[in-house]
Each structure stands twice: as structure tokens, then as C-alpha cells.
């Protein structure tokens, strides 16, 4: 039995909002995972892992990116599943060295994340100003595309297209760094 006090009301509201996002996204997540994983049991395991990570780290995710976060974690879990399966004979070695390597892995990940954030910021500043405005209004101000179109006095389709192109440009800018990070991660796992 839980009581809702002013101190934990915000957390409970946040938990409730997270639960709603997860339940709404679950059918699409399942469809996404079924295409990537061979067996239904793996799909369920992966969904369970996503939910556990949501409980563990969900409060750090910005409101606007919650659904995106779920799909990112699901995609990473799929990749991990296939990596683990293809390297079953290395799992025991990895487990044995996990304790010693965990600290440096975390440190490396933090460094990569910091560099990625820095480069991302630079890439955002290199975008055309109207793309930057749409990106900021949608992601950081959490306005809908319709509200953005009204505010900037542009058609709804234009707002949507410019947002998509901005994200595409950022992804292209970040791709080499993300490839390097993936290679580094694979190297450490092996």
C-alpha cells in the first residue's frame, strides 16, 4: 500500500507516465523485435530486459525521448543477443574478466559519450538556422509539429521534412564516431 506524498508524487507521476509509454509502445516494440530475433522467447526476454532498464535508468531520460529510448535499448539488446550467441565460447572468459574491465569500460563509455555530445553540439550549430529552430522547438521545447508550423508560419509538411533532414544530417555527422565506438566496444568484448 503506497501513499502519495508531495515528495514522491512527482516520481509516481513520472512512473505512471513511463508505464503508459511502455504499454503504448509494446506492440510496436514487439513487431520491431520479431523482425530482428528468431524466436518468440528471445523477443520476450528482450522486452523484459528493456523494461528492467527502464526501471533502472528511466528517470534519466528526457520526456520527449522516452519512446526513442525504448527503441534504442531494444535495438542494442538485439545486437547484444546476436553478439553473445556468436561468441558463446568467449562468454565465460568475458564473465571472468568482467569485474576488472568494468571500470575501464565505464570510463571509456563516458569519454565516448562526452566526445559524441560535443560533436553533436557542433553539428547542430552547423545546421541551417531554420532547421536548428525546428529541432530546438520540437526536442527541447516539446512543441508539436503543428505548433511549430504555426509559430514559424510554415506548412506542417515543411516542418516535418526539415526536422527529418536535420536528424539525417546529424546522424551522418556522427556516423564515423559511432562506428569507431562500436568497433571499440566489440574489441573489448573479444
Amino acid at each position: 500500500m503506497s501513499t502519495k506524498t508531495p515528495e514522491n508524487a512527482e516520481h509516481e507521476d513520472s512512473d505512471e507516465a513511463w508505464r503508459r509509454v511502455f504499454l503504448e509502445s509494446q506492440p510496436t516494440l514487439r513487431a520491431f523485435l520479431r523482425r530482428r530475433l528468431a524466436q518468440e522467447a528471445d523477443v520476450e526476454d528482450c522486452l523484459q530486459t528493456v523494461f528492467i532498464k527502464l526501471v533502472q535508468r528511466g528517470d534519466q531520460v528526457p520526456l520527449v525521448a522516452r519512446r526513442a529510448w525504448l527503441f534504442r535499448v531494444a535495438a542494442n539488446e538485439c545486437a547484444r543477443h546476436w553478439r553473445d550467441r556468436s561468441t558463446t565460447n568467449r562468454v565465460l572468459v568475458k564473465q571472468a574478466t568482467y569485474e576488472s574491465s568494468n571500470h575501464s569500460d565505464d570510463h571509456l563509455q563516458r569519454l565516448v559519450a562526452a566526445e559524441t555530445a560535443e560533436q553533436l553540439l557542433q553539428s547542430i550549430q552547423n545546421l541551417p538556422e531554420n532547421w536548428q529552430a525546428i529541432l530546438r522547438l520540437r526536442i527541447h521545447e516539446n512543441l508539436t509539429f503543428q505548433q511549430i508550423a504555426d509559430q514559424l508560419q510554415i506548412p506542417l509538411g515543411t516542418a516535418l521534412t526539415q526536422m527529418r533532414r536535420a536528424l539525417q544530417r546529424l546522424r551522418e555527422d556522427l556516423q564515423p564516431r559511432q562506428d569507431e565506438a562500436s568497433e571499440s566496444e566489440r574489441g573489448q568484448e573479444q
Binding site: 513487431a31 527503441f71 535495438a75 553533436l120 529541432l135 522547438l137 508539436t144 509539429f145 516535418l160
Partner: protein, 192 residues
């Protein structure tokens, strides 16, 4: 079902991830996910990019000119963040100034008696007598020849007498030593 172009499907991904995909298109969207690998990849990549952008520092913090460029909402948000930090600085300065004023005022209004150096009257009489005796002894040149003479002299009677004479000349308020003078006089009379 596949009437939309790839660009249009990408925009559907964007709308879905940001929670703006209309409910009536959801079934079609899920079906598309189940039949096209590239679509799932696109969804995953877009999800990653959106999350990175959402977790990155806002362009407003990183590039002030961008704040000026846009809507009133943004300018207001920037103004709020700047005024918040300057409010903290002002608070810290006010606090430091308050502490300094309290220290200065407190020092000035403290009892003046506490600030003065203790005068001779506050010393005990015993201390004064001991100091006078030590002074009288230290002025003597003690060598082997004069040591026997020194031992024969009555320094106890000579020293303080000389000291009290000096003190009474220099200090008008000698009433505190009156009893000592009286005692020495009495001693002379008894000896004599």
C-alpha cells in the same frame, strides 16, 4: 499498404517516435515494421539520434545568438536561466556584505575596556614586587670578586626601597603600595 515513399515512411517514424503518429495509422506502421528490415533499421537509427539530441546540452545554452533569433518562448527561457544564475551571485554578494558589516559594527560597538591594554594597576602586587627585585639584581655586575660582597649585602631591603621610590615619583596613584612601605618602615624600627 506500401503506397508511401521511403521519405514519407521516414517521416512516419519521426512522428511515431515523438508520439505524434495518429492512432489510425498505427496498425499500418506496425505492419510495415514486420515486413521491411530497412524500416526497422531506420526506426532504430532515428531513435538513437533523437535521444542523443534530447540529452545533449540545449543549443540555447551553447549558442546565445540562437536565442535571439527565435520566438519569444526561447528568449524568455534564456532570460530565465541567466537571471537565475545572476540572482545566485547577487545573493552570495549580499551575504558576504552582510557578514562584513556585522563584523565591523560588532568590533566598533564592543566594550572599550576590552580593547585597552591592561594597565599596571591590574597586575598583582606580588608580581610587581618580584619584578622590582629581579630588576635590582640584574643591574649588578656579579663576578667572583664581588660575589662575596654581594652575598653580604641586604638586597631585600635596598632593592624594593629604591624601586618604590622610583614608582612613587613616576606614578601618582601609589596608594596600593602604602601597606608595603608601612611594613618596611615598621621593620626598620624593629631592627633599629
Amino acid at each position: 499498404m506500401n503506397e508511401l515513399s521511403n521519405e514519407a515512411w521516414r517521416e512516419q517514424c519521426l512522428l511515431y517516435l515523438l508520439g505524434e503518429l495518429p492512432t489510425e495509422r498505427l496498425a499500418e506502421f506496425e505492419a510495415r515494421l514486420g515486413e521491411a528490415d530497412w524500416f526497422g533499421d531506420e526506426l532504430a537509427k532515428m531513435a538513437e539520434t533523437i535521444q542523443l539530441v534530447a540529452e545533449a546540452p540545449t543549443p540555447c545554452q551553447a549558442s546565445p545568438p540562437l536565442c535571439v533569433h527565435d520566438a519569444d518562448v526561447d528568449s524568455h527561457a534564456c532570460l530565465d536561466s541567466h537571471s537565475g544564475s545572476s540572482r545566485l551571485v547577487l545573493l552570495a554578494i549580499t551575504l558576504a556584505a552582510s557578514v562584513m558589516i556585522a563584523f565591523v559594527v560588532g568590533k566598533q560597538t564592543r566594550d572599550p575596556a576590552e580593547n585597552t591594554v591592561p594597565n599596571a594597576a591590574t597586575f598583582t602586587e606580588a608580581t610587581l614586587v618580584a619584578r622590582a627585585w629581579a630588576q635590582s639584581v640584574s643591574v649588578l655586575q656579579l663576578d667572583e670578586e664581588s660575589l662575596s660582597e654581594f652575598a653580604m649585602n641586604d638586597l631585600v631591603l635596598d632593592g624594593p626601597e629604591e624601586f618604590f621610590t622610583r614608582e612613587t615619583e613616576s606614578d601618582a596613584d601609589d596608594s596600593a603600595f602604602a601597606w608595603i612601605v608601612a611594613a618596611i618602615d615598621d621593620g626598620d624600627q624593629i631592627d633599629g
